[in-house]
Symmetry: C2
Subunit: 638 residues, 2 copies
């Protein structure tokens, strides 16, 4: 209870303050706007809340903000009154703490005072229902710090109660009550509003009239010493009005205290219980109107909400506890990505990355690391193809597997990798196919069974490539890359290829065939560049994406079976353990850079000479390949 000070002879009128009711939807929408719209902008924002006067007894008077709070044109819910607020959302907890709350309150009070003095509040009483909301959203933890203020101008003295408060049914006859109800409803309907926050009342035994504040001149002209005003009252207490009355009384004192000695206040409370409407529990009381002339200066104001402990301090809500954890994970993953766009790369088109469908051929050392990096970029659609099972040496180098996956002969890699991605981030759409990729040089046994299987494998591979946007070649043999490279070329899919040596690697994008209308039917299927095109271009010119070669373009022999006759160290990809992480990460970063280029896979290959020019994408150069192959660099990756 906030007490107005004053005359000790009569009991003083005290007001029940608002309790802020900030819905989860509000915080969710704030999060979205912060991430996508406000970013680092700390400028005040208009928001909108509402309050209700039909609550059951016992509930506190609440000012509610929902997800709709940010849409100033959103309709106010039925039977509710709007309140217009200002959001001060700070970038840091320090700024939140350091905010000058006294100043903010004074500024808001000034605006109310101006509206009172100018008469604007009579025209538009919602101007009396201002609120402030100071927030800091810790979106890493989903902790929301906030401090709510409903600025109330203070009268120069306390208001002695002349009469009441009593229930409306003790003052009005049932007939009068019914007449008030009808008059109020009619006015709302005429005005086209769900509720009237403030209104004027005139009544005798037979008639009850209500009117808008702005009509006070005509309405009150036959009144003598006392006027009656109505306030839409969110409070339930029998002895106390709610907070919205405060600024109305200041208005009344300012406007009418020279003409009237007292004001009768009807705190209009309007609830429907079990289908029966009831306004009879509204309360009525009479207070002396302070006669004194106000100084032109804005009166003192109060209104910062107390916190749960009853002290002056902010509140914090931890939404991580009540949000669906999977939903929470999705928002959190998005967060890190969106933060890139705030300051560092404002032009980054994240949607192009997040929505890309990636097919990973190979779920070994490279496949696992590529998948991990894709997850970091927020890619939601990842499909693995592999035909191996997880062996005991895998988990320490293949970061999607664990010891348990190796038991009983080992789980199929493709399936286990997809499962693991779901465990890491339930929002991902991951699938795995335990299948072989037909390879040149690896003869198919021409029994009907194996031949049929090989046919099915080719068909399935074609379908998979067709239904994805980017194909990653991450296998451990050269020749297994051939068929997917050919199929992807024919379907004009972006191919990213990564291959490891011991301390060397290559990461490259394959060239992309020209679109069909440009006539590209004369390209050989494995080699994407028409010889004539190559001859026509200087070796040193920047090469457009459709002239870039593929992994096999420099081959002088056809790919053959490289798995035959391999010694143990040739069977395993013996490589410096850090290399797969580097190559895997670079492969994904290369894909992201290509996707950011307006020409996508047709982007001209950037060379290191281009470094003096403006980079072609917000993420920099889009080279043909990134490799570490030079002899003198061979052993120098560290």
């Amino acid at each position: 209870m906030a007490a107005a000070t004053g005359d000790p002879g009569l009991s003083k009128l005290q007001f029940a303050p608002f309790s802020s009711a900030l819905d989860v939807g509000f915080w969710h929408e704030l999060t979205q706007r912060k991430l996508n719209e406000y970013r680092l902008d700390e400028a005040p924002k208009d928001i909108k809340g509402y309050y209700y006067n039909g609550d059951s007894a016992g509930l506190p008077a609440r000012l509610t903000l929902e997800f709709s709070a940010f849409d100033m044109s959103a309709p106010t819910p039925a039977h509710c009154c709007p309140a217009i607020g200002t959001l001060f959302n700070t970038n840091t907890l320090e700024a939140f703490k350091a905010a000058d709350k006294k100043l903010l309150l004074e500024q808001a009070a000034d605006e109310i005072w101006e509206a009172v003095k100018s008469g604007a509040a009579l025209e538009n009483p919602v101007l009396l229902n201002k609120f402030l909301l100071l927030t800091f959203a810790d979106l890493k933890k989903y902790h929301f710090y906030y401090w709510f203020c409903f600025p109330a101008l203070c009268l120069p003295e306390s208001l002695p109660l002349i009469q009441g408060p009593v229930g409306l049914d003790q003052r009005f006859s049932p007939k009068q009550i019914q007449a008030l109800e009808r008059a109020y409803d009619d006015l709302c309907q005429t005005e086209g509003v769900p509720a009237l926050p403030y209104f004027l009342i005139k009544y005798d035994e037979n008639v009850v009239l209500v009117s808008l504040l702005k009509h006070y001149g005509d309405f009150f002209q036959d009144q003598r010493t006392k006027i009656t005003i109505g306030v839409y009252d969110p409070c339930n207490l029998a002895q106390h009005p709610g907070w919205p009355l405060r600024n109305l009384l200041v208005l009344a004192a300012h406007r009418w205290s020279s003409s009237f000695q007292s004001v009768e206040v009807l705190c209009f409370r309007d609830r429907t219980m079990q289908g029966v409407r009831d306004i009879a529990h509204s309360i009525v009381f009479e207070v002396k109107l302070p006669e004194m002339a106000f100084s032109p200066d804005c009166p003192k104001a109060v209104g910062w909400e107390k916190n749960q402990k009853g002290g002056m301090g902010p509140r914090m809500v931890n939404l991580s506890e009540c949000m669906d954890p999977k939903r929470l994970a999705e928002s959190s993953v998005d967060l890190n990505l969106k933060l890139m766009c705030w300051r560092l790369v404002p032009t980054l088109d994240l949607d192009k990355v997040v929505s890309v469908k990636c097919l990973l051929l190979g779920a070994g050392t490279l496949g696992c690391n590529v998948a991990r990096t894709l997850m970091g970029w927020g890619v939601r659609h990842i499909t693995f193809v592999d035909n191996a099972n997880i062996s005991y040496s895998n988990p320490v180098r293949q970061p999607l597997y664990e010891f348990e996956d190796c038991l009983a002969g080992g789980k199929p890699k493709a399936l286990a990798a997809a499962e693991r991605l779901q465990k890491i981030f339930p929002g991902v759409h991951a699938r795995g196919f335990n299948m072989s990729i037909p390879m040149p040089g690896h003869p198919v046994n021409f029994s009907s069974v194996t031949l049929e299987q090989a046919r099915k494998d080719v068909e399935h591979l074609e379908q998979l490539i067709e239904s994805h946007d980017v194909v990653f070649l991450l296998m451990d043999t050269r020749e297994s890359r051939w068929l997917p490279a050919v199929i992807a070329a024919s379907k004009r899919k972006l191919v990213i290829n990564a291959a490891l040596g011991f301390d060397t690697f290559v990461v490259m994008r394959h060239g992309l065939k020209k679109p069909k209308q440009q006539g590209a039917g004369d390209l050989c299927p494995g080699h994407l560049v028409a010889p004539a095109d190559l001859l026509g271009s200087s070796l040193f010119a920047n090469i457009p994406g459709y002239k870039l070669g593929c992994y096999f373009c420099n081959d002088v022999v056809a790919p053959g079976d490289s798995t035959r006759d391999r010694t143990l160290d040739q069977q395993c990809t013996v490589s410096r353990p850090g290399l797969a992480m580097i190559a895997g990460a670079l492969a994904v970063e290369l894909m992201v850079s290509v996707l950011q280029h307006p020409d996508g896979g047709y982007a001209i290959a950037s060379s290191s000479d281009d470094r003096m020019n403006e980079p072609p994408t917000s993420l920099g150069l889009v080279p043909h390949q990134k490799k570490n192959l030079k002899y003198h660099e061979r052993r120098s990756i560290a």
Copy 2:
């Protein structure tokens, strides 16, 4: 049963072949030798097996190879006869399949034939007990392919049985049996061997004499048409001798067929059941000695073992199924590492890497990736320090965490990271400490509780640094790196520092203070280089490890609280997702390179100019730092 062909009038003598009994210990030892010693060497290796003549009835005659098979000086087990073999371990399954088994058998037969002709076999009868073992060890899958051969020279014709076989108790009186037993034991003792594979026997009703083959001249001089020879017989069958008799009969025919018409064979079988020794179940038979003179050419030989299906083919044993999975995981992890030493980096000192104890300060994006790379290098001792809990945005970028780890406020990162390493590889010794690192600029509240806690944290940090070899600085603030850098410098521990920007990073080693005896007391604790040292050296000279700076060496202001007043995008390390993997991997590769340098942390910093010279370690250059900071390279990591 292998049948000798010949005279259809009498029943023919048939021999029970050996069954190879290759113990798990044998394969384990082969694995070790292959990895550590043979590597790519396919040269034949001497190995040793043994056989036993005391088995219970029903067991096949086995030639057993245990872990000791590779140690030619290892003692033969009690009551067993040795067999000397040659191991042909191929590098590939193709070489295994392509091995010329006919040629290998012929070569072994030749050696036996030479030993027979020269008389060497008389001096050393073990020369008759040769065997071959052709193997291919697929150490990725723990599948061992093998083909065993016990070369037996063939007599030009089959051996007709003149008498028997009968049990020894049907031929000898109990007194004779006892006398044989004693004579055999005495001879073994005189010779100092656990058993005699072949021996000569002479007996009458009262006396039984045995002698060595080489004494045949004296021993047989009073014999007329028949001699008796004893063979230590691994076979249990009542009607058939075991395989070792075959080469002895060839020797007998070659040596003695001109003097004697037949030979009586005593297949000496010597078992102890329930404490009672029994040789009475030995068998005795007489065969005609082929009279013909042998040609000087080596006779035809047989001996390749049939496989489980009864055909001529190799066997395979899948040891992954019967090995302890955790042990298997350890061997498998070692395998990939050891393969590096086979061909690519023979001088790599893996022990220096595997045994290093690493302290990871920070278990976030960098910490997780560093730990993963350390695991790939086989590092077994990894300790995490972090004070944060896992949040929902972490798992997609921090590859030791999953969605489940985020629930209920999130597990402490340090503990969860250590747990995850154990799940990846049970052989790792991983620990985690959920603690804060005191930081300059972050004032400690001087209440006794928090002050005491800060003191404890410093003490604990000191202990941790003391008990590790390498300290990784992987935190997300600059100032948290300060105290560990100072402590590690004072304790002369190698410090590897990694820090990320958006598309920039730095990975560096801190300089290492000179050892105490060289007088380094005048260095300031945070800055490792004495100013005089710096002034004395040219900027372009190669800088020795003790003159290298630390992360703070170029600071012009003291580190302060960089976490205050940070906006959301400054709180999170907003970085290209691939970057942490690259920097984490490079940090570990840098550590490995430093460890490989003979001077360790005192190694002169390699610069790119050094690339024309021989690299200082088997893994290449050992730079001071690896960074990606230049403006024009800023956005070009892809």
